[in-house]
Symmetry: C2
Subunit: 208 residues, 2 copies
DNA sequence: GTCTATAGTGTGATAGAC
DNA sequence: GTCTATCACACTATAGAC
């Protein structure tokens, strides 16, 4: 079966090559610039050949999206071992924004404009799971107000992170505050009440 | 100058009609479905005529975007008179999300995918101003931690609101929590420490 | 102002020869 | 598996007649 293997190996190589040039086109000019013709030209094949490896443009998009989700999870990995859930969420939050700003076009494909929907087994946001886990731990430790469900909290946290990334990507000039400063401020508001070591630095009150 | 007036009046009417059908097409099928041909067909004119009233598709997009910003400011108006800045921000925040979810396609044009840039005098987010104002008041009243600049706080607050809207619009199935619940939770996290009447409802601490 | 006609370019996808 | 050739569209924008 040496021949058989060689065959599927070559096939896999071409598939990877297609994804490779697609990644580059998207990174440079955005998903809108990704067309079957351009991919074909870049790999020196005819457009028709692409359909032997992918069902169409939407299928390639799905593959790129999945790559992105994997990368995002990898960006979380170094912080997954942080014991304190709040410290972990802080680190993950920073990593999330960092990833989004570093891979703007991929991020857009993952969470921006709606994409031609693919199979039902494509999870919308695999990266949400570790965030939910951290909130579950917080809750178990009694460090989350009782009325805040872990899932809802995680989604709110995610939405906040997404807002900072999406706004910066779509309207670069709309935000005057530097990305890092905005992230720190948001994390401060979320977590300075729940850090065990350093309890909330309370704002001054009006002398009512 | 009766004739002159009648002429510009008719001209204005046609311009309005173009915007009207454009609004409908965008609302129903999104900005991507808006083409000069379709507009022309809808108003029973030839595509060429549109160029007498707008410079092109991007110009029409700009007009629709401006309408959206005006509507968003109008959605804020009822709450502008609320005296307490925190209560005002809560109301405006709810109104913001409500607007975004009610006018998804317009919202997308305003804050979603980057649009063919127009004149430099198109402000990216007129609605940010009243939010900044509220944070300035908060700061003046000593109810904002000293290290939080009003502008940065307003931008972080805006990003949070945007995140909830944008995520819901782009990935309707990704968030399991109902929009209202998510908004309330986020507002709770932001403001329950700074409401003067009802000081922070503190979560339980682990008995360290 | 409005039209017809068209230039010029792009697209996804497929049939059928090799 | 790969190609050429092509279908069947869509688009923005403009020239030039009326």
């Amino acid at each position: 079966m040496g021949i058989q293997e060689r065959r599927t190996e070559l096939r896999q190589q071409l598939r990877d090559r297609i994804l490779e040039v697609s990644r580059e086109i998207v990174a440079r000019e955005g998903f809108g610039a990704l067309s079957m013709r351009r991919i074909a030209e870049a790999i020196s094949y005819s457009p028709a050949s692409l359909y032997l490896h992918f069902e169409g443009r939407a299928d390639i998009a799905r593959a790129l999206r999945e790559e992105g989700h994997t990368q995002l999870l990898e960006a979380f990995a170094p912080h997954a071992s942080i014991a304190d859930p709040v410290a972990r969420l802080r680190s993950m939050g920073r990593a999330y924004v960092e990833y989004g700003l570093a891979a703007p076009q991929t991020y857009r494909m993952m969470f921006g404009e709606p994409m031609p929907v693919s199979g039902a087994n494509e999870r919308a946001a695999p990266a949400l799971a570790p965030i939910v886990d951290a909130f579950i731990e917080l809750r178990a430790a009694g460090r989350l107000p009782r009325e805040h469900a872990p899932l809802a909290s995680a989604e709110a946290f995610w939405a906040m992170l997404h807002g900072m990334v999406a706004l910066r990507l779509a309207r670069p000039d709309a935000l005057q505050t530097a990305p890092d400063a905005l992230v720190d401020l948001s994390l401060h508001i979320w977590f300075d009440a729940m850090t065990p070591a350093a309890p909330r630095h309370r704002g001054k009150r009006t002398p009512t």
